[in-house]
């Protein structure tokens, strides 16, 4: 096995659950997210010669996974990929207040939040995954944090 394939396998071992959980906010179920992550890693392996190492590997594979997830939804791709998703909590009933606060965020901002807290993505990984600068990620998260802080009660945050 070559070094790039080994790195993809290691990424899978370490981040599979996080990828699936983040992607489930796009696909709407654990099962479809699982299928999308499996397909994404298979494609990443097959196309690994195209990865140039300029972005974090996690971000490169995430972009493949995101595209696979949207293909599964059969959404028209006339709009940019990142704008064609409307991610949401898989089980809003577990925290209705958080769900309501998240729904008030723009889809793009919500996706960044989910990448951060479900996908455990670093700022650099989010930046590469969304094709923006790290500064933009920091600003986006700061705005999302401000909106969420306003909407969430301390009692709910302490649950």
């Amino acid at each position: 096995m070559d070094a790039r394939a080994r790195a993809i396998e290691e990424l899978y071992a370490e981040r599979y659950v996080a990828f699936r959980n983040a992607l489930a906010t796009v696909t709407g179920s654990r099962e479809t997210a699982h299928d999308a992550v499996q397909e994404a890693f298979a494609r990443a392996l097959a196309q690994r010669h195209r990865y140039r190492g300029e972005a974090p590997l996690a971000a490169w594979v995430w972009k493949i996974a995101f595209r696979v997830a949207l293909e599964g939804h059969r959404r028209p791709l006339a709009v940019p990929l990142e704008d064609s998703a409307d991610p949401a909590l898989l089980h809003p009933e577990l925290d209705p207040e958080l769900d309501a606060a998240l729904r008030r965020l723009s889809p793009r901002r919500r996706m960044v939040v989910f990448l951060r807290y479900f996908g455990d993505f670093s700022y650099a990984e989010i930046a590469a995954a969304c094709d923006v600068s790290e500064g933009t990620v920091a600003a986006t998260l700061a705005q999302a944090h401000a909106e969420l802080r306003t909407a969430l009660t301390p009692a709910g945050a302490a649950r």
Binding site: M1, A13, V17, R20, L45, Y117, F118, A138, H145, G156
Partner: protein, 238 residues
């Protein structure tokens, strides 16, 4: 301020994180699975365990790793094993290799000249590591390790909380972990070829299962057909 909000949100999202690990690398990479089986067939000619080879083909759950195919250890891990060597007087027969990697920690193994092996768990979040050498008990053995703060009055305040252990049972395929709240999850067993010839597992207990009423209770070793081979009670989480 951002860090405080970040921490609050992490806490808020934690109960919403689905901990079920239904990953399956062999499903992602069937060509590699075929190659691995081929390698095992060759290895069998070189007197590797026939039992390992036979079950590797028929068992869908457990992962089979050729020891020499594992990731070589970085210098801090190698140094820790060298310390083992010096403290215990046990001579290592080969450099350590990584056998299990999770988001929280990785498990490294090195065979010893006496026929056993040493293991070491390396946390991803720090330089911290811990390990042991020596023969294992037949069947299933499991240890709980806490790597974060916990309350004197009971309760884990920070992780990771790790379950790790070995299964010295050739028919072993996977593990079923049961929790106080009735939930169960499957833990993948990684079977490592000669010279180790033992199954290993490493499981970071999800945050929602640190609390009383939700903690792990029993770990059961299962065959590929679902037969219970061994069971251990889980204790040690305050």
């Amino acid at each position: 301020m951002i860090d405080a909000v970040d921490t609050d949100l992490r806490r808020r999202f934690a109960p919403l994180v689905d901990p079920v690990d239904d990953s399956d690398w062999h499903d992602v990479c069937p060509p590699r699975a075929r190659r691995l089986r081929g390698a095992l067939a060759i290895a069998a000619v070189l007197a590797l365990s026939i039992a390992v080879t036979a079950t590797a083909v028929s068992v869908p759950h457990r992962i089979v790793r050729l020891f020499g195919d594992g990731k070589p250890a970085p210098p801090p891990v190698t140094r820790s094993f060298t310390d083992f060597d010096q403290i215990t007087g046990i001579d290592l027969a080969a450099p350590p290799r990584r056998v299990v990697a999770t988001a929280a920690a990785s498990l490294w193994v090195a065979p010893t000249k006496g026929g056993g092996f040493c293991t070491l768990v390396k946390l991803r979040s720090s330089e911290g590591a811990g390990g042991e050498c020596g023969p294992t008990e037949p069947g299933l053995s499991v240890e709980v390790s806490l790597h974060g703060p916990f309350s004197r009055s009971g309760g884990v305040l920070g992780g990771p909380v790790l379950l790790r252990g070995v299964a010295d049972e050739h028919g072993a395929d996977s593990l079923r972990l049961a929790f106080e709240d009735g939930a169960t999850t499957t833990i993948r067993l990684v079977w490592v070829s000669e010279p180790v010839a033992t199954g290993f597992f490493l499981y970071p207990v999800p945050r929602q299962h640190w609390r009383a009423g939700h903690r792990p209770t029993t770990l059961t070793l299962l065959s590929a057909g679902g037969r219970e081979l061994d069971t251990r009670r889980i204790t040690g989480i305050p």
